[in-house]
Symmetry: C2
């Protein structure tokens, strides 16, 4: 039986050997949610990069360049990481370069894994189906907020682990805690998330509707994966999303 | 209103400025529980040290030397960190030097704080009373297991935060999650802890009765603090424990 493990902050990732494992990168508010939105709206590929400076170098090649820091678009960039920015007609067929406070860093740190997948409530069911199909050890990596633990990423890890627990063995206390916390929160996820420090920050930024959007479950049947440093939808996903 | 914050692993402590704050070091299974046992049985002072090599240097000065690694006493040391080792008549009036896998390291890492206190279920009520009296920002530091998150330390952080929440403001998601997880687990703490990876390890080691002992609540009315690199009971504690 493959194992499932939860890493509650990118800073704790160094404790885990990723070789031969699948890492699911989780940044519910909002990077990994928005990446799913982009693919659902026809994006061709997404290049996660570390800095706004690196991001802008993709502009001459026709990439849409997106940069977020501290919950806001970086000056000089048209878009940050609001999911609604990735629903525009320009997204269809586009290549996108993106850098965010937490999520794109977590992807970068996971590169020694055998597979990297993008997880969000929006594609949860499709993700779980794919993880069960692969039968490989899974690391649920919470991007957190500047390396601090956050509730929304932990709850999503709990939601995934709950779905997988009949087919995977649970390898650590973080996964047990995440499942039980999700049990509490899932009665009313939106209200629960509003308790979090991150949500308070978001309310200050006036982007509450982003939160409500990102907490919708299973609206996209796709699983972005990292291949040659680009996030793409693999063939099987593309077929699934067309039919 | 002072703030309360939870650090789920010593590795995450570097994200937090400890200046002017009280750190409560938590290592439920078993270092901080056993330290409370030692003081309840008349220990005069405890010197937390980093390595068995350093620990043994205190022997010529008449210290009782205790060393634990991976849940077992280190070879050459009579005692490790089982609470039952600290109930012996020899403990009364003794100076003790101790090194453990997780707890003593967490104390060492907290030294920039204005106060360091020892927390366990055994002295929870006394600890909370003291924290409320002091009205200083509090960091609940979970020692974890080799820098990994563990359930029992998180649950204790939740138990303390729940007691303090009317008098302190909750500063982070980790504290919110810990309180809610404690609400779930407190219905039957012993059974809940048995789900944890740490408890599995303990059962393998044959020290289940240590777990049951360490999960007893409020049996000691004392709060060990660090002063000049020694854990002691401050005057007020001594009086409380005598009367």
């Amino acid at each position: 039986m493959p194992k499932i493990q939860t890493v509650l902050s990118p800073m704790l990732l160094q404790l885990t050997n990723l070789t031969g494992k699948t890492v699911v990168v989780i940044d519910i508010l909002r990077a990994t949610s928005s990446m799913c939105v982009a693919f659902a709206h026809g994006a061709q590929r997404i290049k996660p990069v570390s800095t706004p400076q690196e991001c802008i170098t993709y502009a001459p090649q026709g990439f849409i360049c997106a940069a977020e820091r501290d919950g806001k678009p970086v000056e000089g960039f048209a878009i940050g990481n609001s999911p609604f920015s990735y629903m525009e007609p320009a997204i269809k067929g586009a290549s996108i370069a993106i850098t965010t406070t937490n999520g794109t860093q977590a992807i970068e740190m996971s590169k020694s894994a055998s597979r990297i997948m993008i997880g969000s409530f929006l594609n949860k069911k499709a993700l779980c189906k794919e993880l069960i199909r692969q039968q490989q050890d899974v690391i649920l990596l919470c991007s957190g907020w500047k390396n601090n633990y956050n509730l929304e990423d932990t709850l999503f890890a709990g939601a995934v682990a709950k779905e997988l627990q009949d087919e995977f063995s649970i390898a650590d206390d973080a996964t047990i805690g995440a499942i039980d916390l999700y049990e509490v929160a899932s009665r009313d996820l939106n209200s629960y998330i509003k308790k979090s420090s991150h949500a308070h920050r978001f309310i200050t930024l006036g982007i509450e509707k982003d939160i409500a959007f990102c907490l919708q479950q299973d609206i996209y049947d796709l699983v972005p994966i990292l291949e040659n440093d680009f996030l793409i939808l693999p063939e099987s996903n593309l077929i699934a999303s067309i039919t």
